[in-house]
Symmetry: C2
């Protein structure tokens, strides 16, 4: 099954980088730099320590912390054991964390105390699964990350056979049906996507990438993976924070990052006296002040393309459709795309249908969701739950999610998940969630609630109930109470009417969503 001479994996790539880039910095984080040779030694120790802890093929390793270079070294180590790393969303509530622990039943858990410790401890308490070895990322005792790493042998010269088609990474995503699902991605899928991302995102061995966005989303993580594969340098900050960002760009001469406009404004303000030299950053033009501080590069396109976690981030890119009608472009050389109706028949160009994919960038499936996998991968194609249209020249216009979704900043919020949470409140009979336009966050969440006869609850009660159960960014910003829920003939909530009554709008995909 496994053919040594044609083998390519995170681990063998790291070995090559030690030969190809002697002395080069692989990772930088918090004033600490790690060369490729040092990284290989750390990974070797981790492999040994994980194996000693009983980690075997198919096991899960859970990261409950913020951004760190350790996520990358753990991923390389885990993959060499055919085990999987899941970098968890640290903004989750204790209830969500407990559900994730129970879903994954991880063999080893790395957790962070600072900022997120109380919620994690509460989630651990809540979880039914009581196994797994807990190690503290930011501790320094016996059960700390560094003690664990140091317990492993460095000289293993690891040349075991590894199945690069097996799952290596689990990213939770898309709570269409009310609960998040873990997309399982293989080394093969990741390494192939890297080869498409490198040229289209202009990532090379000269790139010094500053990872600001959360590594529990592919948006930032896939760039780190491509930078690693190409032999560039990854710099990490714990979370988005203007001061750490400016300091990191200054210290490491970062050439690339991705920042929201609010953060760019904060950096401009912070750096009014030019104490940080951030001119190494090749950045898109923004404000005049920003442009004076960074290297402004001509940008070919501002359209990011189309994809989702389940197809390793990006599947359709504008670089394959320059001058095309559909601004999202065409499928990358790694995938095939069809637009289909509800019976999986191709629709004509110009007609809207569901976008489906095939190719090596499709995930292995969701972790422990056999029915959902059968449904999403029916007839040999991955169904995205997204709507799109092929234009006359074969290019794609992405329309929007097939089911209702709310966009808050970079986060996707699935009404079904928030509704399920509110319905669990003892006073609630029914609930509908809409998105209300917001100048900075695109949308905010509004709950329309019907109480049980004789029950009472205030707006604050509902919001606090949500805060305890789901990630803070998913909780409603406002709650409206009604006597009854308007429903369609089909039985579904009449969201169009709720939008009209309560000012909903600005949804991704506009008016085209179907229910």
């Amino acid at each position: 099954m496994f053919d040594t001479i044609r083998h390519l994996s995170f681990y063998t790539i790291l070995e090559e980088h030690v030969r190809s880039y002697p002395g080069k910095i692989a990772h930088a984080f918090g004033g600490q730099s790690t060369t490729f040779a040092q990284l290989l030694e750390r990974v070797d120790r981790l492999i040994d320590a994980l194996e000693t802890s009983g980690v075997v093929a198919g096991d899960r390793i859970l990261w409950l912390g913020q951004n760190s270079d350790r996520i990358m070294e753990l991923l390389i180590a885990a993959s060499q054991l055919d085990a999987m790393l899941c970098p968890s969303n640290w903004r989750q509530s204790k209830t969500e964390l407990a559900a994730q622990i129970d879903d994954l039943e991880p063999k080893v858990i790395f957790w962070q105390n600072e900022e997120v410790g109380p919620e994690i401890r509460a989630g651990r308490e809540l979880a039914s699964f009581k196994g797994g070895r807990w190690l503290q990322h930011d501790g320094d005792g016996e059960d700390s990350y560094e003690s664990f790493l140091a317990s492993g042998r460095a000289d293993r010269n690891d040349h075991r056979e590894v199945d690069t088609r097996a799952g290596a990474l689990i990213i939770y995503t898309a709570a269409f049906d009310g609960r998040p699902n873990g997309a399982v991605l293989s080394q093969n899928t990741i390494l192939l996507e890297n080869l498409v991302l490198a040229p289209t995102q202009r990532i090379s061995n000269e790139t010094v990438f500053l990872a600001v966005g959360p590594l529990f989303h592919l948006g930032t993580l896939m760039q780190c993976l491509t930078v690693f594969h190409l032999g560039g340098t990854n710099v990490f900050v714990r979370r988005s924070d203007a001061q750490s960002i400016a300091q990191s760009i200054h210290d490491h001469k970062c050439t690339r990052t991705w920042l929201v406009s609010k953060t760019m404004d904060e950096i401009i303000e912070l750096n009014h006296d030019r104490r940080y030299d951030i001119s190494s950053l090749r950045s898109i033009p923004y404000t005049e002040e920003w442009n004076r501080m960074v290297t402004v590069e001509p940008v070919e396109t501002h359209v990011p393309g189309y994809g989702q976690t389940e197809v390793m981030g990006l599947a359709v890119l504008p670089q394959y459709g320059r001058h095309a009608i559909g601004i999202f472009g065409r499928p990358s050389p790694l995938c095939h795309m069809r637009i289909v109706d509800s019976e999986d028949r191709d629709v004509e160009p110009g007609q809207v249908g569901e976008i489906v994919f095939r190719g090596p960038i499709v995930m292995n499936g969701y972790w422990r969701r056999p029915e959902l996998n059968a449904q999403r991968h029916r007839n040999g194609w991955h169904h995205t739950n997204d709507l799109g249209r092929r234009e006359a020249d074969g290019s794609l216009t992405f329309i929007g999610p097939k089911v209702q979704m709310i966009k808050s900043g970079v986060e996707n919020i699935y009404p079904a998940e928030v509704e399920a949470c509110i319905r669990r409140h003892p006073a609630v009979a029914d609930c509908g969630i809409i998105g209300v336009p917001h100048p900075q966050w695109i949308q905010t969440v509004k709950a329309i609630v019907v109480l049980k006869p004789g029950s009472e609850a205030t707006e604050k009660d509902i919001v606090e109930h949500c805060r305890a159960q789901i990630a803070s960014y998913k909780k409603p910003s406002s709650v409206e109470f009604r006597e009854d829920m308007p429903r369609l003939a089909s039985g579904g909530v009449n969201y169009k009417l709720l939008d009209e009554i309560y000012g909903g709008g600005n949804y991704p995909g506009g008016e085209t969503r179907t229910s």
Copy 2:
């Protein structure tokens, strides 16, 4: 073994191009253009016709003709049957052709009458293998290519399971040991290399590539394959000829090709009255006159990188080593490289050793050469038979072939092969081949011959003997007769002394060759 949802093959890529590039020209050859949709229909018919002819997985299909778009459609069709296409070197002698037919035992042979017919018929006669169906590429009767294609069904909608790791293409190469060997390359290997070639060679869906070089070498064929994969257009000329080249660039607005300086001069002379518009060509700067006719693009580098057929053409590229010490660059993201001594131990940076590779671009092996494969792939690494040196910054300096080789134009000539041919002459006792510097062809072949006692042979006898048995470009341009052959203590021919006596030199790799 085969996972539908992650499948990527020549055939599925062609299906996607029909959707992504409706109406676009896939191939142009001799005034005839073929859209992707038409190509899919032709490939479907070919698959059916080949299957009806009994072609099954592992079978060989032999192309005995010059450049044609049919090589590409046959490759796609053959690969869908897990069969292999071998585009043969049409400059081979009847003896070489016969040996190749016997080596491959092909199920179907497509042959060309024009220019190469007599030699092919003689080779067919000479071959021991008498099986295989012979079809004429440039005929129009019952046994012609088009009749064969037309006999296949077009509506098969072929979705069979294909093993993309199986051999799809056989390219004969490297007669280090006196006979050429067929490197077997899989779809996987080809498709992956395409992803590296596209950005480094600036090939995109907007490329219109004119294939001038022979398609029996990867140099040109790998570019056609990348252009196909990316959705560009391939234009073919039968062989290098200034008039056909200029006409094709004019007709199809070709953006890319590769020409030797002699051909560029011929085009300049031919086009003195500007009857052909060849300005679409994005070309390297050459003479002033040439620069006025084409679009002169700034070129980042003139160094092509390092590779060989056995690693799908290019493995080390200067794009991964900008500003590096070794101008050949660093290994691509698809392979790993070591520099080793005769015991396969790593040599220190700065030391010369044999270049060895690992990764998905390594060939499956040579066709029917189990011992040679074991030797070349020993210890899990592909041994290139080439010498190189890692510089202090990890980059590669390519030194030259480990065994003596002569370079004539773009062709590699292996002394062992020419010597073996001359030794078969009844009057010859011993023979040594050297390369003599030539202002246009880099080197020409000189034979030093020792005759058997009492035997006689003239220079013309030896040259004609070679002409009948090996490709014309390999035959000696001159022959010197001696009483005895100078030999080393090891028993090998003392080539250094022969070079000194007879003016040998200008070898690829200079003085560093080892025997």
